[in-house]
């Protein structure tokens, strides 16, 4: 069944090799490549034939109406769900059969649409959880406070403050994460994801609930993060100013299928996208 479908891609979907990678990334291997990715929930095809390539330092956008399957795509990439069709290549490696933890170690980190911080822990400890796999001392070193403990705790503390300083949050390090204002919680989630040292950062509605001023700041920060860490960023967002402003490649999803891919200009003028998602401008 799935074999048959694979050989009949719909007209609108370009072949996997036709990416929208920015020119500077053309000569390095793509960070992410999906081929005919799809998942079925008891017969319902939530995502189908999802082909996408993301360049090494690209900022990509994933947009579409509610229920189009955007977050499902993130869950497939991070292995929260196992795809029922197709493959995901992360840094050239097939992630088939991996779990969330292994995918993270391979270089994919994410934030969540409904914030999932460790609310009872401090801001700094949240970032330290992100640094977990870069600190290598075991349980006994921790309990008996061997020299490795002090050295690595200190390094971890400094690294955590350095990461928090991206968003000017180093002064909040001692606060309880759950007590932070909404915007700060979203920023903390991004810092925490960055701490895992990813090569691809997935942001699920990073600007949700932010005012225009905060969104503006977030846009600059996303670009700064990309430039500083040289990573690829893929984001789901409903704020078109943000998406059209910073995304180099945009992918539009509707009913689990890609209906358009291209630059901001191409997407804005694509009649299929206007019909399905963006809507027409009022005339007169």
């Amino acid at each position: 069944m799935s074999e048959v479908r694979r050989r009949q891609p719909t007209k609108m979907v370009p072949a996997p090799s036709q990416g929208i990678i920015p020119e500077r990334d053309l000569y390095s291997a793509p960070v992410l490549e999906t081929r005919h990715l799809g998942i079925e929930f008891g017969g319902l095809k939530a995502v189908e034939d999802f082909n996408l390539i993301i360049g090494k330092t690209e900022i990509a956008g994933l947009i579409g109406p509610n229920g189009a399957g955007k977050t499902t795509v993130f869950n497939l990439l991070t292995k929260v769900y196992q795809p029922t069709m197709g493959t995901v290549l992360l840094n050239g490696r097939d992630t088939a059969g991996m779990n969330t933890v292994q995918a993270n170690k391979l270089g994919i980190a994410r934030t969540f649409q409904n914030i999932r911080l460790f609310g009872n822990m401090t801001v700094e400890d949240n970032v330290r959880i992100g640094l977990h796999n870069q600190v290598k001392y075991g349980m006994f070193t921790g309990i008996f406070r061997l020299p490795g403990y002090w050295k690595q705790e200190k390094a971890q503390h400094e690294k955590a403050l350095e990461l928090l300083s991206i968003f000017d949050m180093q002064d909040m390090a001692g606060y309880q994460a759950g007590s932070l204002p909404y915007g700060a919680q979203r920023r903390l989630e991004i810092v925490r994801a960055l701490a895992t040292n990813p090569s691809l950062l997935l942001l699920d509605e990073p600007a949700a609930g932010m005012n225009p001023h905060e969104t503006e700041e977030l846009m600059n920060n996303i670009i700064r993060i990309r430039d500083r860490f040289q990573i690829a960023i893929m984001l789901i967002e409903h704020d078109m100013n943000l998406v059209m402003g910073i995304c180099e490649g945009i992918c539009v999803l509707n009913y689990g299928r890609i209906i358009a891919k291209g630059t901001a200009d191409e997407i804005q003028n694509n009649p299929v996208v206007i019909e399905a998602y963006l809507g027409k401008k009022k005339e007169g």
Partner: protein, 353 residues
């Protein structure tokens, strides 16, 4: 900065326990302490260690375990067998050395069973995990009830449901242990409390401890951050089992005879009551609750028949008081005087849904 503060808090904790120990020792030495209370000193140590170790699972790792007495039972019987074997077979005369080796043996054995039980149990979550740990606690008690042990020279004989063993019987099935020398002492019990605090507080303030708390606060986010949830749930569960086994060995060696029936479901619940009353995730609360609620039934002995009734009323009153918003705010303000909004919120507000 933060690191220093948590270390200072830990040092204060050790300091208070040491002062309490010195006061108790002084009262015992000056014969100011009533006999009944003196006999309770070792059980108090045991229950404090039990409560703190259960708090590691319930408060820090956020899983409800109802089989904690099972690990205590394993530790108690292992300790009793080890101490007798050390005396009879190896001729180790020093009671202190035997006690310490027995406590370590009890902890190791309970740890082994912690791993064996943890593998199937930690695949479950929430209520299902609670039910299965309860079942395992009962299974351990029923299996131990049928075990017979004897020492025959250097040999250790074991049988299931067959009391005819060569040599001196130490564990006699449902009749429990026999001819064990009661060698537990209060100073060793105190040392065990300090050791438990040392392990739990240091674990919580380390990389592993943070990972354990992360899995408690948000399992999905923890996995997305590359934390192996099962590994850290297991770490908390087994550490807790080891400490419970040590407490069990100390408890067992306080009596010349005890039976497996001592470690039934009621004991698990009793320890859970200490944890809940002291505040889930609050190590200090566990210590105070365990100490007070172990002494209380003894103090109420004068009321004879009404003793358990009063005990129950006290429990209910404490529950009501701790849930009263006005009392809570007063209590919070008092706490804040002692330590001004410590950033080490790790001990506060557990989540054991």
């Amino acid at each position: 900065m933060k690191l220093k503060k948590s270390t200072v808090n830990a040092l204060i904790s050790y300091g208070i326990v040491i002062v309490a120990f010195i006061v108790c020792q002084y009262l015992i030495a000056s014969k100011a302490m009533p006999r009944t209370l003196k006999g309770q000193m070792i059980p108090i140590c045991v229950y404090i260690v039990m409560a703190v170790s259960l708090n590691l699972v319930v408060g820090i790792s956020g899983e409800l375990s109802l089989g904690h007495a099972g690990f205590m039972s394993i530790g108690a019987f292992t300790g009793a067998i080890a101490s007798t074997w050390l005396l009879n077979a190896l001729g180790l005369e020093s009671a202190l050395a035997r006690l310490i080796i027995s406590i370590v043996a009890g902890g190791v054995m309970a740890g082994v069973f912690g791993v064996l039980i943890g593998i199937p149990v930690l695949r479950l979550r929430g209520d299902y995990l609670a039910i299965v740990t309860l079942a395992f606690g009962e299974i351990i008690r029923n299996v131990v009830n049928c075990l017979y042990f004897s020492v025959d020279g250097m040999r250790l004989n074991i049988s299931f449901n067959n009391p005819n063993l060569a040599g001196t019987i130490i564990v006699n099935g449902p009749a429990g242990t026999k001819g064990i020398k009661a060698i537990s002492t209060f100073p060793v019990g105190f040392a065990l409390i300090i050791f438990t605090l040392f392990v739990v507080l240091n674990l919580v303030n380390s990389r592993s401890g943070r990972a354990i708390m992360a899995t408690r606060d948000n399992r999905i986010a923890a996995e997305a951050m590359g934390i192996n949830v099962t590994k850290y749930k297991m770490m908390a569960f087994v550490t807790s089992a080891v400490l419970a086994g040590m407490a069990g060995a100390l408890y067992g060696l306080n009596f010349s005879t005890f039976t497996a029936a001592k470690f039934k479901f009621d004991t698990s619940i009793l320890v859970l009551v200490f944890v809940v009353l002291g505040g889930i995730g609050n190590i200090w609360g566990s210590i105070i609750a365990a100490a007070l609620l172990t002494i209380l039934p003894e103090l109420l002995r004068a009321f004879a028949d009404y003793r358990m009734l009063i005990y129950a009323i006290v429990l209910i009153l404490v529950m009501l008081a701790t849930n009263n918003p006005m009392l809570r705010s007063v209590f919070d303000r008092l706490l804040r005087v002692f330590r001004r909004r410590s950033p080490g919120a790790e001990m506060k507000g557990g989540a054991a849904q």
